[in-house]
Amino acid sequence: MTRSLARGILAGAIACGLLGFGAVQAAAKDSLTLAMPLEPPHLDPTAGAAAAIDEVVYANIFEGLTRIDSSGTVQPALAESWSVSGDGLTYTFALRSGVTFHDGTGLDSGDVKFSLDRAMAEDSTNAQKGLFGAIAEVAAPDAGTVVITLKQPAGNLLFNLGWGDAVIVAPESAGTNKSQPVGTGPFAFERWVKGDRVEMVRNDSYWGRPAKLAKATIKIIPDPAAATAAMLAGDIDAYANFPAPEALAQFEADPRFKVVIGSTEGETILAINNARGPLSDLRVRRALSHAVDRQAVIDGAMFGYGTPIGTHFAPHHPAYVDLTASYAYDPAKAKALLAEAGYAEGLKLSLKLPPPSYARRGGEIIAAQLAAVGVETEISQVEWAQWLEQVFRGTDYDLTIVSHTEPMDIGIYGRETYYFNYQDADFKALMAKLNATVDEGARYGLLADAQKKLSDDAVNVFLFQLAKHGVWNKDVIGLWENSPVQANDLTAVYWQ
């Protein structure tokens, strides 16, 4: 370290001394252009489900009481510290002092109370209201203290408060955050050129360690071919999650780039409409699970990047149970199960595929695998807007492929209405018990039960955990290798 530093200084000195203008080159670059595939519909993380919103603003523009770091652990953010009462029902947060929003107004406990009350309200448009389900009341006894009282103990409260959906906003700017986000983060929003990019500049009055980049641009490049070209041309410095895994080999071979394969929270599933005719039959769903060769899907659609899963849970999580063996690839068994359910002569199902390549390519492979056991699929390729409308909200589908990228989202199977139409009282009871359990060991036990339950019921065909294909310039340091939350945290990024 010291040697290389000394050598660097020496080299710099020689360069400056001999060339005079060497100093220009030695000055580190302080702006970064990061690309992502989807444009956010708006920029208010407290009012939308789109992952793209968090991927722009989380930790950059907006912060919550806590934050989730690159390893997925909870860290203090706007709350400097907290204490929990003995019964686990009262959380007292001490707010950091001297925090200001980008518009100059100061942060106090009133803003926190406002933000949380707004997110929990009856008419709230928050996409993850479930995060706040355990909260009974938020109180602000003085400017620097927030007290959250719970209805029942909630083991994951601190984690939940670190989500993008739980960030703290100011009452003055809450209404306009969609187009003009005002937060407390290390970067302040500058402008949004719709369809092209979002620009942010360093917030010089940031409470914590200031960002190293003076300017960050997030560019929207949905087309994988265009992304490859932009990367090769140097128009973008980094692509946090490259949409075309087939192009990675090419970047790996190029010394200008670094390819980092990390983990994401993206459980990629062949989602089944459990309420639809033949699909409500457990035997049919199990047959589908046996009919799919996960490794072939990973190899064919993702060029080998991805980890097979047997349930809706991230393999890198300590509570993960490997259930991939429960439904080994076995076309004969699938056929037998279908025959047993009365579909010996086959079955016709619709398969709706959103744009990402895991869905479009994976869909074709799965369709061929299902055809081999007599399940005929009618594929239709849909855009995201149509997918959200028809599949997610309208539940008008038989099968679809999608990646659930929220962290710790097994709870979606316990929701009253969700597009899988999986209604199981036992699972709901399990989730209620989990929410009320604080002890980590007991929680892991319940999580294991929940994973097994989903696998037993073959709710969906669990395919693989999406890998994060990071591609960036080799001189860029500090980007997240993994995606424990939907975020592109640029706080610590710099050029070497």
């Binding site: 994988p224 071919a225 490859t228 075309a244 087939e246 192009a247 080999a249 090419q250 072939a296 190899d299 064919g300 390549s357 479009r360 390519r361 869909g363 074709e364 492979i365 369709a367 061929a368 695998q369 055809a371 009618e378 594929i379 239709s380 390729q381 849909v382």
Partner: protein, 264 residues
């Protein structure tokens, strides 16, 4: 002649693919993906290990079927409308032709995108979309050609003899403009193949796993650096087909147009 030969080969390949292709078109073999052209796979394999030659052959059926029906819709509706406008004149003509102008005013591909967005992607909707935009082409052509015929002496004679307008249209007008329509059909056929490929390229036409040249091009796009041949072969197939049909159209025009025949 070349045009006729190319078109016949295309049709022959398409018919052949209905009963035989070198490999089954829908069977996926992931370990054998992205092979370069070889003795076993003449044009290599695609990203799922499917034989490209087989898929191009089957894609020909798709292109021909979509285009045939689309041109059929265009001519089937457009020609009667045009003939009606020429026979009736007056208000009927105004209404028909303004409606045509309205349809014509939208760029065809854009409107096709709109239709498939409204009614969902799929081969049938692509056919309808392409068909609708063939209507004004045939309506205008028919009306223009028919109008000049209505002034001719033999038509006037037929009218004096008390023949009805429908009768005259069927007996005298349509047979005399048939050659013109046939030439236009070959040209529209080529355009329809291009339009289908364009829609499928955008994911709005033929849905997987059915092969379509446009879709094959789309899939090849991100694989350009790994397997450029995947983009070349369907591209060549489209180019040769469209070129062949255009040459055929030219040839037919030379053959059927009496004025050009006299010049020769």
């Amino acid at each position: 002649m070349i045009g006729l030969a190319v078109t016949l080969v295309l049709v022959a390949v398409a018919l052949l693919s209905l009963v035989w292709t070198p490999y089954p078109i829908a069977v996926i073999d992931v370990p054998g993906k992205l092979q370069p052209p070889s003795a076993e796979h003449w044009l290599g394999t695609d990203q799922f290990g499917r034989d490209v030659l087989s898929r191009i052959m089957a894609g020909a059926v798709n292109s021909i079927a979509v285009s045939l029906v689309a041109v059929g819709i265009g001519a089937g509706i457009g020609v009667p409308l045009g003939a009606l406008a020429a026979a009736r004149r007056g208000l009927v003509e105004e209404v028909v032709m303004r409606f045509n102008d309205f349809t014509f005013a939208f760029p065809a591909l854009l409107s096709a995108v709109m239709i498939t967005a409204l009614f969902g992607p799929g081969a049938v909707n692509a056919i309808v979309a392409i068909g609708i935009f063939n209507i004004p082409v045939f309506a205008r052509l028919t009306r223009g050609a028919a109008l000049s015929l209505w002034q001719r002496d033999f038509v006037l004679a037929a009218r004096v003899a008390g023949r009805g307008r429908t009768r005259i249209t069927l007996d005298h007008i349509l047979p005399n403009i048939a050659s013109l329509l046939i030439v236009q059909m070959t040209i529209q056929f080529a355009l329809a193949i291009l339009a289908e490929a364009g829609l499928s390229y955008l994911g709005l036409g033929t849905q997987p796993p059915n092969p379509s040249w446009g879709k094959m091009l789309n899939e090849a796009q991100t694989l350009m650096f790994l397997a450029p041949q995947l983009a070349v072969f369907p591209g060549l197939a489209i180019m040769i087909t469209v070129l062949g049909l255009n040459l055929l159209g030219d040839g037919l025009r030379d053959l059927l147009d009496p004025r050009l025949r006299r010049l020769r």
